[in-house]
């Protein structure tokens, strides 16, 4: 089953010729979820062939321009392209005011409904759920109200060996019994043990998005044991003081979060353009945590 994230933009603040402002698409079993939507995100979606209308849920972490200024254009384009399906947007309460004001100013009446849910940057809460996924918003530590997002796959049931279903002509009730972890009695009276019939499903995976944020123990608690975390590393350790005053992180701090939270892999992004090469972020993080990858526009990371 697909569970992956595609980077549309991973630069910090002002766009450069090297990086676009923040945006990424999580693909969970072919449902698409957009996280943040910096200016130009819709052009990036076109470039990387992300299907606009397959996105039904948009999560905005905070109201700094590089994380939301592409949202109105995207909302407008979906309308112009004939969208009728409801769109769910999750973000700070003021975002709703901004959307309404822009629609009013342009005298636009959307052909689809927007359902807005205000996030609360003070608590962890589940904001979305379907049969295979839960999404949580959790507090980040930034200059304005800011939430991270945790995409938590639900644990799937054990898989039955198909060959056994046919060999023993298992009835649906027996299959359900086995998937519950119980043994079942076959038609000849013998017992088919659960452990023989089933192999465990893959462990449920989680993806955590942490941008923008200063180093925070709360973040560590919220992303504990994640399969993959995207953690901002706007700066290197040489700018540690600047990271502190601007409520951003260094690559070393991002790696410390990854290490202390016992995550499997760390994906760095939100790179300040002041450095010559993004590789400097990886080098710094690797001194703390081994499994480090660098975000870049158009790259897809399996979770």
């Amino acid at each position: 089953m697909t569970f992956e994230v595609t980077i549309l933009g991973c630069g910090a603040a002002a766009p450069t010729t090297k990086h676009h402002p923040t945006s990424q698409v999580v693909n969970m079993h072919d449902k698409l979820f957009l996280i943040d939507c910096g200016e130009g995100s819709q052009m990036q979606m076109r470039k990387y062939k992300v299907k606009f209308q397959r996105i039904n849920h948009i999560f905005i972490s905070h109201l700094h321009g590089d994380h939301y200024l592409g949202l109105m254009g995207f909302i407008s384009s979906m309308h112009l392209l004939g969208r009728k399906t409801k769109l769910y947007i999750y973000g700070p309460a003021d975002l709703k005011l901004l959307i309404d004001m822009n629609l009013k100013a342009s005298n636009t009446y959307l052909d689809y409904e927007i359902e807005f849910r205000a996030t609360d940057s003070k608590v962890r809460e589940m904001i979305y759920e379907d049969k295979s996924l839960e999404v949580y918003a959790f507090p980040l530590k930034h200059r304005v109200e800011c939430c991270g997002f945790l995409f938590k796959e639900k644990q799937r049931k054990p898989k039955i060996e198909k060959e056994l279903v046919e060999r023993y002509k298992l009835r649906p009730s027996q299959i359900i019994q086995l998937k519950r972890g119980e043994d079942t009695v076959l038609s000849d009276g013998s017992i088919l043990p659960f452990a023989t019939a089933c192999s465990p499903a893959d462990a449920a995976k989680t993806y955590a998005y942490c941008s923008d944020t200063a180093y925070s123990e709360t973040v560590i608690e919220n992303v504990r044991n994640a399969t993959l975390i995207y953690h901002e590393s706007t700066f290197l350790n040489t700018e540690k003081e600047r990271a502190k005053t601007t409520f951003h992180s260094t690559a070393e701090q991002a790696a410390t979060v990854a290490k202390n939270a016992n995550v499997q892999r760390l994906l760095l992004g939100h790179f300040s353009p002041r450095y010559t090469s993004d590789e400097e972020f990886r080098d710094e993080a690797k001194t703390i945590f081994e499994n480090v990858e660098l975000a870049n526009e158009g790259l897809t990371f399996k979770i």
Copy 2:
């Protein structure tokens, strides 16, 4: 002296891989003026090496997203890049509310001042003047309040032949006299006629920006005798009815404006992506008016 316009975007409504939303930069003697600022305009400026901080005046025609959604990002980037110089923005009154609301939401205090002047889409009025240029806003005919902009070079004074200044050792007062169009008396008592000493300056040039608009007689009056007009041609004549209901123009209508206003050259833009080739717009316009050019991203047109 430089007087030219560079196209940053000339597509209609939703951005495509072919065209960016509307934005263009007028260069008048190395002062830069931005007209409209669709999403991604700042990235286009970077791509075409337009110096952000040389722009002190921004003119927004109307509040449809494809004409203004790049403005907040541009305002923000100029701040992040250290701007201190006052920025003048001209546009519909609601634009000021949107700017203020975005700045408040992101808790941003700009290091430079914005002076906003609301345009009035009901009248023609001069909204900017310096020693070599006047800019007028004038009514366009669109679904929302919308202004065109006329960049009118001031008529320069006649040029004195330098060689004559040296030969007759002309004093500054005599030069001023000649430039006023009067003859002057030389030191030997003879008369140096104005017509001998001076050659006329080039005729003052004008550039008119007309987007978005339905065909309008008012527009014709406002752009009369312009050197170059940019007129939207969202549609071809096959979509004439659609052009009418959406308050846009066809290429034929744009050409009719150019012809009836006796302008020198017509620049078409705001192309709907429904057509195979932009050349179709030129072909249609040329049946009415000869001097037609097609806007395209990165192209600069001398005025």
